[in-house]
Amino acid sequence: MKIKGKKISVFSVIVFFASIFWLLPLLLIFINSFKPYNDMMQHFLSLPQTINFDKYIETWTKFDFPKLIGNTLLYTGVSVFGIVILAPMAAYKLARTKSKLSGFCFMVIIMPMMVPFQSYMITLTRLVSNFKLTGTKTGYIAVTVGLLMPLAVYMIHGFIKNVPLELEESAEIDGAGKIKTYFMIVLPLLKPILTTVVVLDALATWNDIITNQLIVGGNASAMNLQNALYMQFSAQTSDWEHALPGIVMSMIPSLIFFIVMQKHIVGGITAGSVKG
C-alpha cells in the first residue's frame, strides 16, 4: 500500500510540473512585462529586479486602453444580451412547433454550423459594406450576433426537447397567454443552458479578432481591444516594453472570468462539442 501511495504522489508531482511547464509561456510574459528591454534580452528567465508599473501605466494611456476596453465591453455586453434574448425565444418556439415553416427556419439557423466561416467571410464583408456598415459598431455587433446565434439556438433547442410539456400546458389552462407562459414558466427553466451560452459567447466576443478585423478593419474608433493590440504590435515587434504589459492587461479579464466561471466553461465546452 505504502509503495503504491508513494508511486501516485511521484506521478502527481510530475504532472504538476508538467502543467507548470504548460503555463511557462504565460509566466515568462508576465515576469518580462516588468523589465526594461535590455533586461529582457539579458535575463530572460530571471525575475524582475524591481516591480514597477510605469510601463503598464504608460501603455494604458498611450494606447487609449479606457476606450478600447469600453468598446470591447460594449460589444461583449450587447452581443451576449442580444443572444440571450433572441436565441431562447427562437429555440423554444422551433422546438414546440411542428410545421414546415418551423422546420425550414431551423434549417436556416443551423446551416452555418455545417459550413465553415471562411467560406462566406469574403462575401460577408461585401454585404456589410453594401449596407454601409463597414467600420461601424452597429455592423460589428449585428454580425457577431448573427455568427453566435446558430450554436446558441442549437444548444438551447437540444435542452428544451428534454423539458416536459406539462408545465406549459398547465400554465395555459390556468389562462396564461403564450408570451406570458414563455417568460414566466419556460425561461426560468432554461437557466442552466443559458449560463453556458453566456459564458461561451462572452469569451468568444471578448477574444475575437478575426471578425473585428474583417468588419471594422482599421477604423480606430470601433476597434476592439484584441484587434487594436494586434494592429499596434504585430508589425513593429521591437516595442516589447509596451506590448507585454498590453498583452497581460488584455488577458486579465478572461482569466478572472475563467476562474469565476470555470465550472460552466468546462461544462459548456463538452456540451458544445457533442455537435462536433
Binding site: F44, L45, L86, T97, M111, Y120, I122, V145
Partner: protein
C-alpha cells in the same frame, strides 16, 4: 378558426424571425452571394463583372499551384495536429481524471491557453521565439535557439503545430475527462481484483469504454485542422515564402490581397465541399457510436 391561425403565426414570427434575420444577414445571404460570384471574374471593387461560367473552377484544378500547395500544407498539418494533440490530451486526461483538488488545479492550468485570445497567443510566441530565444542563445550557446524559427518553412511549420497544440489541448482534455468519468467504477475494480495492472486497466477497460469521446475528439480535431485559418492569419501570415499558407488562408489572400473575388469565392466552394465531406463522416461516426454506447 382562421383568426387563431393568424395569431399563432404572428406569435411564431415574433419569437423566431428576429433570430432568423440576424443569421440570414451574417451567414446565409453571404453564402448564397458566394455561389453567385464564383461564376464571375471580378476584382471586388469595380463595377465590371464578367460572367465566366466554370472558368474559375477549371482554373483551380488546372492552374492554381498555390492552392494545391495550401492543400498539401493543410493535410500535413492535419496529420501532425490530430495525432499529437489527441495523444497528449488523452495522456493528461488519464492522469487528471481523478476527483482531487490537485487534479482540478492541473486541469485548469492546461485549459487556460484555450481561453486566451489569439492576439495574446501570437504575440506571446513571437516574443518567446524572438527576444526570448535570442537571450537563451546568449546564455546557453545552444544552436537550437539560434535557428531561424519563423524564417524557414520547415521550422515555421513546427512552430504552428506546437502553438496550436499548446493552445487547444485543454479542449480535448476536457472531452476525454468527461468520457473517463462516465466509465463505471465497478468495471475498473473488477479488473483490478482479477489482477490487471494499471496499464492493462487503461488499455483493456478505459480506452475501449471511451471510444465515443475518442471519435468525437479525433473528428473535431480533424475539422479544426482543415479549417486552420485564424492562427495563420494572425501569426505567420502564410510566410515564409508561402510555406504555411493553409487552404482557408489561401482563399482569404486571393480575395483581399490579390483582389480576385470571383476566383476566391469559387475556391471557397471547393473548400466547403471538402469540409462537408469530413463533417458528414464525422456525424455518421458520432451517431453510430452513440447507438453503441
Amino acid at each position: 378558426m382562421k383568426n387563431k391561425k393568424v395569431t399563432e403565426f404572428l406569435i411564431f414570427a415574433l419569437f423566431v424571425f428576429p433570430a432568423v434575420i440576424f443569421v440570414i444577414f451574417s451567414t446565409d445571404i453571404p453564402f448564397l452571394m458566394n455561389l453567385y460570384y464564383s461564376f464571375f471574374d471580378w476584382n471586388g471593387v469595380g463595377k465590371s463583372m464578367t460572367f465566366v461560367g466554370f472558368d474559375n473552377f477549371i482554373k483551380i484544378f488546372t492552374a492554381d499551384t498555390l492552392f494545391w500547395k495550401g492543400v498539401k500544407f493543410t493535410l500535413k498539418f492535419a496529420v501532425f495536429y490530430v495525432v499529437i494533440v489527441n495523444i497528449i490530451a488523452l495522456a493528461i486526461a488519464l492522469v487528471l481524471s481523478k476527483e482531487k483538488k490537485s487534479a482540478s488545479v492541473g486541469r485548469a492550468f492546461y485549459y487556460i491557453p484555450y481561453i486566451i485570445s489569439l492576439t495574446a497567443i501570437s504575440l506571446i510566441w513571437k516574443f518567446i521565439i524572438g527576444p526570448g530565444f535570442e537571450s537563451l542563445y546568449n546564455i546557453t550557446g545552444w544552436e537550437i535557439f539560434n535557428w531561424s524559427w519563423l524564417g524557414t518553412g520547415k521550422l515555421a511549420f513546427v512552430v504552428v503545430v506546437v502553438m496550436t497544440v499548446w493552445q487547444n489541448v485543454g479542449f480535448y482534455m476536457v472531452n476525454y475527462i468527461a468520457g473517463i468519468i462516465a466509465v463505471p467504477k465497478e468495471l475498473m475494480e473488477a479488473a483490478q481484483i482479477d489482477g490487471a495492472n494499471k496499464v492493462q486497466t487503461i488499455t483493456r477497460i478505459t480506452i475501449p469504454m471511451i471510444m465515443p469521446s475518442i471519435s468525437i475528439c479525433l473528428l473535431t480535431s480533424l475539422t479544426f485542422a482543415f479549417k486552420l485559418f485564424d492562427v495563420i492569419m494572425v501569426f505567420t501570415k502564410g510566410g515564409p515564402a508561402n510555406s504555411t499558407v493553409s487552404v482557408a488562408y489561401n482563399i482569404y489572400k486571393e480575395a483581399f490581397v490579390n483582389s480576385n473575388y470571383g476566383l476566391a469565392t469559387a475556391k471557397s466552394l471547393v473548400f466547403v465541399v471538402f469540409v462537408l465531406i469530413i463533417t458528414a463522416i464525422q456525424m455518421k461516426v458520432t451517431k453510430s457510436k452513440e447507438v453503441e454506447s
